[in-house]
Amino acid sequence: MTTTGRRSDTKPARKLPWILEFYRSDVVKKWIMALSGIILLGYIAAHMLGNMKVYFGPEEINAYGEALRDLGGHLVPRTHLLWIMRIGLTIAFAIHIHAAYSLTRTNLQARGRVRYDVPREYLAANYASRTMRYSGVIVILFVVFHLADLTWGNANPDFMRGNPYANMIASFERVPVAIAYIVANLALGLHILHGVWSLFQSIGANNAVYNKWRRYLAWGFTAVIVLGNLSFPIAVQFGIIS
């Protein structure tokens, strides 16, 4: 029996604190990716729905932005609840990425350098599932640009703090930016198409009774999110909102 190339040869034998020991397992990492994925999916849905306010005019969406900063009303100091949400979201995003990075490294090592001579002909895996790591990277880059464009304002020369309606128009009026938003949202669509279906598998919520519906849910959710998000740059480009 040979022992070369086994992953056990490289794993530390030392006992880590419970939470780190827990996170070391690949199954746990996938579980955490599913849970953080659910948080991120919830955010994406809320973000898309909130942005729909743009179709109701500048007052509506600007009031929506103000309401977000004023979340919790008189119960909490101004913007504190928003910041708690932002921090929670950042943590979920960071953990999702770290787990993906760590699992990818594990998987590349487990697969080894020698590949099959005959190129893989996938029977069950679809385009979305095979490109998760690439669509994920596109989404990360997009999020950075999106924040610089419409939150921090560095990437938007006409940025006006506290006026999301004007900022959105100013941003999407630039053709390359509109195209970048469309491409990024298609990548996001591919990512969540596999993610929504796959997360049931990772958290073990499979059930033969509704397994078929997981596909429908993934397609339905993705379609709503992508169509909603794509409508904004397209509407600005075609002058539907200005």
Partner: protein
Amino acid sequence: MDLTLKVWRQDGPGEPGEFKEYEAKGISADSSFLEMLDFVNERLVEAGEEPIEFDHDCREGICGTCGVMINGHPHGDQKGTATCQLHMRKFNDGDRIVIEPWRATGMPVIRDLIVDRSPLDRIIEAGGYVSVNTGGTPDANLIPIPQMAAESSMDAASCIGCAACIAACPNSAGQLFTSAKLAHLNLLPQGQPERYERTVAMVDKMEEFFGSCTNHAECEEACPKSISIDNIAFMNRDYIAGKFKDRRKAGQS
């Protein structure tokens, strides 16, 4: 029928290895894939060459010993069968067939088409059993088992441990094998006392050798027993539960 074989030849563990081409002429369409290899080997021996080494045993699809990558498909592209149940009538005269061993870091090649599948034994050793203390033989049907649960357990138990799932997986994950072995025991009343201990031990052992699941479901397609990836979900759930379970309270039903 006349075929051209492109076969991986490797003298021993850690040796470089290379593909070699062989002409296989006059193969009977009624022979199985392994019989075809036997036939080629006989000629190689007659010519004074080393025969192609491959694993095989029962040749009726129940032992899980055979298994090679045939034109990029584990056990060939016929669904739900092992290599021994694949017949040459599924190929065409003049075909070129590429035969490779399973590839995974955790299962290095021993020689030619034979890989070291002992990690699967290590996973079973970690918990793939039910501890039964000695005593009188219990009456049959003493423990009531719902029919559907017995069927699901039996479906999982049909895993023959051939490692086609690992060979098919782009991440070389051993999840379908391990989850089938777990579901086989964890779905039955007899498996309950050690359920969470078993799940954690077997998954931890599996992760020492193999990659993680990205839910492609390629394993399910490759499996000669068509074992469902629903077993993987069941394993994931039991593993997480097992991590949080207080073992001192495991005696409750």
